[in-house]
Subunit: 219 residues, 2 copies
Amino acid sequence: MGLEERRKRERENRKNAILKAARKLFFEKGFRQVTVENIARKAEFSKGSIYLYFNSKEEIYSQILLNDIDKFHDSVADILQGPSSASEALIRVAEIYVDFFLNDRELFRILMNFMLHNNDMNLPEDINNHIIKTTNRTISIIEQVFKYGIEKGEFPPDINLRMNRNAIWGLLNGIISLHLFTGKESGRTEVIHSTIKSGLEIYIRGMGNSRKKEGGVFV
Amino acid sequence: MGLEERRKRERENRKNAILKAARKLFFEKGFRQVTVENIARKAEFSKGSIYLYFNSKEEIYSQILLNDIDKFHDSVADILQGPSSASEALIRVAEIYVDFFLNDRELFRILMNFMLHNNDMNLPEDINNHIIKTTNRTISIIEQVFKYGIEKGEFPPDINLRMNRNAIWGLLNGIISLHLFTGKESGRTEVIHSTIKSGLEIYIRGMGNSRKKEGGVFV
DNA sequence: TGACCATCGGTCATATACTGACCATGGTTC
DNA sequence: GAACCATGGTCAGTATATGACCGATGGTCA
């Protein structure tokens, strides 16, 4: 209720307004295509004012990334709250994962790029660490689903968690990449969802058979 | 969406925040008991800032009065939208009138004071005019209810509009004054409402009889 | 009554926030 | 490779916000 408090609150509001405007522009056109002047106009500020709240264009971008990554992690983490079966949980995680990145292609590009080039990108140190940490946490969520499946007797008890989770992780990223590559014409969400669903069902069925065959993704 | 526009909008917001804070304080404690510093703190501004938006404490008060008077007028004016009978309309106007001023005693005091001393108060010219204009409009609404009653055959056709409307106007103000005078102990809204309702019913009944008696409020 | 004090409306020098013209640089065109 | 353009970032000028201060007013007490 104080005075200092009000100014702090208003500063926060302005920062958020800038982030919101910038986010929309970045995810519409990509980092390079958006100018600081664009952001300023959309947020109804002058260019100079932007630099009162952020030190650089990169910093704006970084903060958006951090927010989005956290939001993503939260929505995936929710899945583990009482799923009915491991198969369903796996499919649900996959759907959320894909949906999220179809709505935030830029973030997906960044993350893929990050995975491919790791430290080549000139992101600040803390952003780097945050991406790594969050990615690991997300991967571990997939791993937990596998653990849960084993405990329930749904998946074979001797599957290799690390390999399986990586396979699924790769599968999802691959499908999204493919989607981005092939573009809009094949881009309806339902198509992707059903692709993923069938893909995962086949994969899960494969796990059941693999003990006899000694092949596939098992150690 | 422009830049000028944003600043204008924010200025308006701040002005409103100050008015809102001031209104609450004024109607809780009265004009004299509230300091500009009080208003500033409640609105989360410094005292100096208040004077960026208003020229004086009086001006703040004036603007609140104008707003309230308009609001009051609007709510009374709504009554005339399709009432079922003139008697009901009259009671309804009375109830709204009383309710309004029980929630805004300070405004009532101002208006009564204004009616009693007229130009003695040091309110700015435009406020003076506005009060006169709005009061006249409100009184004319009561007059319209009487007209409506005559047209519907509900009231005698030869009643003196001016005298009747003034009588009702006085009745209402008198009841409110009495209430303010006697204070909280007799202050429940229902009591006042029923007082008004009975009073008006008696009054209306009186109108019907007056032709024979040649007395009362008729010419 | 008059000296003293407290309170409060209003002012103003200072501090903070905002703006857009300007600068430096890196890419593009001819 | 020179002339040009686009754009990230800077900074001097302007607008807005702050609170210590001033003068007037009214209450208190000797």
